[in-house]
């Protein structure tokens, strides 16, 4: 059966507690390194004043996105972008709901405009002077699979490389107990409809049924995957880090998987 969508991975980015970038993740997964101390996502692509003002979700997404674009060698200004997150900036939502319950007129205007789900897309396009289309999406617990499907669809439909960043920060307060997100995680891809210069190939096909998560037996990876909806990407990221030519499934909706065949240019 031929795949519904074929995209080529031209850039990869990742930030996890203990793995500050994609290479550090690869060292842990493929080369037996220990996770390092957790550092603040550097978001080097943002100008310093924006970096100071930006909330954690923006720093996280911009950190992974910046790595992926750098690896691709493409100009971020030309890349349509899709930012996907199950819950957006939960810390700001927690702040907003707490403030609204006690002193609604004291709501911070900066926090409010940082609260929109497309804040990372906004900061990113401003920082990179990107006038291409930008989107901010969610698929709840399946935000990674849904975002991957959307980004691959956009790349193939418009025959142009697309940046995907998928991120979630840890939940806080009463909201945090509803979202069960215990740690931060972000990944990013530059996905191209063409093979040129790609690190890997993904053949994607939506398939009925959501088969759920499977433990890998690697304690750090399994804990990471369970900590955060965006980290449902972890098995895929581990396969990419090990350059495994393999097939796996990623949940993309309540009753839908993305079947992914991974291959590598020789």
């Amino acid at each position: 059966m031929s795949a519904a969508l074929t995209v080529w991975v031209q850039g990869i980015g990742l930030w996890a507690p203990g793995a500050a970038d994609w290479h550090a993740f690869g060292d842990i997964v493929a080369r037996g390194a220990e996770p390092s101390a957790t550092t603040r996502p550097p978001a080097e692509i943002l100008p310093p004043n924006e970096r100071r003002r930006a909330p954690e979700s923006v720093l996280l997404a911009a950190t992974a996105a910046g790595q992926a674009v750098r690896m691709s060698g493409l100009d971020a200004a030309t890349l349509p972008c899709v930012f996907s997150s199950a819950h957006g900036d939960q810390a700001i939502t927690d702040y907003m709901c707490e403030t609204l319950a006690s002193a609604p007129r004291e709501l911070s205007p900066t926090k409010f405009h940082n609260s929109v789900h497309n804040a990372p897309a906004g900061y990113w396009t401003i920082a990179t002077h990107c006038h291409a289309s930008s989107s901010a999406v969610s698929g709840g617990e399946y935000a990674f699979g849904a975002g991957l499907l959307e980004a691959a669809t956009l790349a193939v439909a418009d025959d142009h490389p697309v940046l995907l960043a998928c991120y979630d920060i840890a939940g806080t307060g009463p909201l945090g107990s509803m979202t069960s997100t215990t740690g931060a995680f972000a990944l990013a891809f530059v996905l191209s409809p063409h093979a040129h210069g790609a690190a890997a190939r993904m053949d994607l096909s939506p398939e009925p049924c959501n088969t759920g998560a499977e433990a890998s037996g690697h304690a750090w990876l399994d804990a990471l995957a369970a900590s955060n909806p965006s980290a449902r990407a972890v098995p895929l990221m581990a396969a990419l880090a090990k350059t495994h030519a393999t097939a796996l499934r990623v949940p993309a909706a309540h009753e839908l998987d993305l079947h992914i065949d991974l291959g590598y240019p020789t």
């Binding site: 519904a4 906004g122 900061y123 901010a136 009463p174």
Partner: protein, 400 residues
């Protein structure tokens, strides 16, 4: 440069807003130039402003199996879904194509955050109260999850949350998925409801008017926030199809500022050009534009200047936010529906609330309702973060 798109049929559509439930209420309000704004009577603390509130949401009862999803936003969605035969149209598409071949692609800016706010107002020992211990509500994906559950659909299910362009952009998502054969039909649209987050949030930015909003008026002093739900079912047209057609879209970013539009409307113009290219039309072909026209100082200045320099005087243009308020993430679908009604009924909606034209306005502005033969129309939706979208529709397949 994008290739022209193959037009898609808008098989069914509906909207519910401060103007009433369903298409007939909206068509009547547009024909009579009768708005739906009222003094704010919904925020948890007093706030001096006008709102577009939907009557009857409080009385909506979700059926037992959907009880987990109960909140104001999903009640409004449920109310809207049951108008104009929309549920039957979706069930018919599901029967024809299969549950996994109909996508759910919905826009919202705050989804059911009203339920999260309520939980924080009555915390139980610092925790979410037991009756709101429902994780499906405390996420931006609540609306799309709800609608997929209502119709028992098993295909792609995506929330687009790009603030005020959200439920316009979902039309683009649908076109891509249908063109690539991932699905055969898509429910597009969106829902946003009045809640403290948006009322006090926009108030904190000093963007809310104490009076009913006056889009494109020289004396305008801010937006009026509203709530709405709207949905459309998109699929490939059949031969001799008499459904209105979705013929083009454009999406672009300002890359300028989080809460202020680009001063020359750069992103808006890019989205507009993208739309005309994909539709294979030129500015002179456009009979009507439903403008974003929020009544904020900056948006209206920039958008008026864009229309003035880009379109001939024969193109008529108006904002309908004076009727409904700015319904944020639902504005894209609500105004797409207004545009489809304008084409269906041959009525250019009045730019309600505006009396003294902003100096940037050109002769395109329809300050009062007009009769017109509208064959091709656009709808603009611009959001926070410089997120711009534009949609193009034509009245009917071939028979126009």
């Amino acid at each position: 440069m994008p290739h022209p798109m193959s037009p898609l049929a808008v098989r069914a559509y509906t909207a519910t807003s401060a103007l009433g439930h369903g298409l007939a209420a909206h068509a009547e309000a547009l024909a009579l130039s009768r708005g739906g704004l009222r003094p704010n009577d919904i925020s948890s603390a007093p706030l001096d402003c006008w709102i577009g509130r939907v009557d009857g949401v409080e009385q909506v009862a979700l059926p037992g199996p959907l009880a987990e999803w109960d909140c104001r936003n999903n009640r409004l969605a449920w109310l809207a879904l049951r108008q104009d035969g929309f549920m039957d149209a979706v069930r018919d598409a599901r029967a024809r194509y299969g549950a996994s071949r109909v996508a759910v692609l919905l826009g919202t800016s705050t989804a059911s955050i009203g339920a999260t706010e309520e939980g924080y107002r009555r915390l139980d020992h610092g925790r979410m109260p037991a009756d709101l211990h429902r994780p499906v509500l405390h996420t931006p994906h609540s609306l799309a999850g709800f609608v997929a559950t209502v119709f028992d659909l098993e295909g792609p299910c995506l929330t687009v949350a790009t603030a005020c362009s959200s439920s316009a952009k979902v039309f683009a998502n649908a076109e891509r998925m249908i063109r690539l054969g991932l699905v055969d039909a898509a429910i597009v649209g969106g829902t946003d409801t009045l809640c403290d987050s948006v009322l006090f949030g926009f108030n904190s930015l000093e963007l809310v008017s104490p009076s009913p909003c006056r889009p494109f008026d020289a004396e305008r002093d801010g937006i009026s926030i509203g709530e709405a739900a709207g949905f459309a079912l998109i699929e490939r047209p059949q031969e001799d199809d008499d459904a209105p057609l979705f013929i083009g879209y454009g999406e672009a970013s300002d890359a300028h500022h989080m809460s202020t539009p680009h001063p020359e409307g750069l992103g808006a113009e890019l989205a507009l050009r993208d739309t005309l290219d994909r539709a294979g039309i030129e500015a002179i072909d456009v009979d009507y534009i439903n403008l974003h026209g929020t009544a904020s100082q900056k948006n209206d200045e920039v958008e008026a200047a864009l229309v003035t320099r880009f379109f001939p005087d024969t193109t008529r243009a108006s904002s309908t936010k004076g009727f409904t308020g700015h319904t944020l993430g639902a504005a894209g679908i609500l105004e797409a529906v207004m545009t489809l009604l304008a084409m269906r009924d041959g009525v250019v909606p009045a730019n309600l609330g505006g009396t003294t034209p902003d100096p940037h306005c050109g002769a395109q502005m329809a300050w009062h309702a007009e009769r017109a033969d509208i064959r091709i129309a656009l709808s603009n939706s611009f959001g926070f973060g410089g997120n711009n979208a534009c949609l193009a529709f034509s009245r009917q397949g071939g028979a126009a």
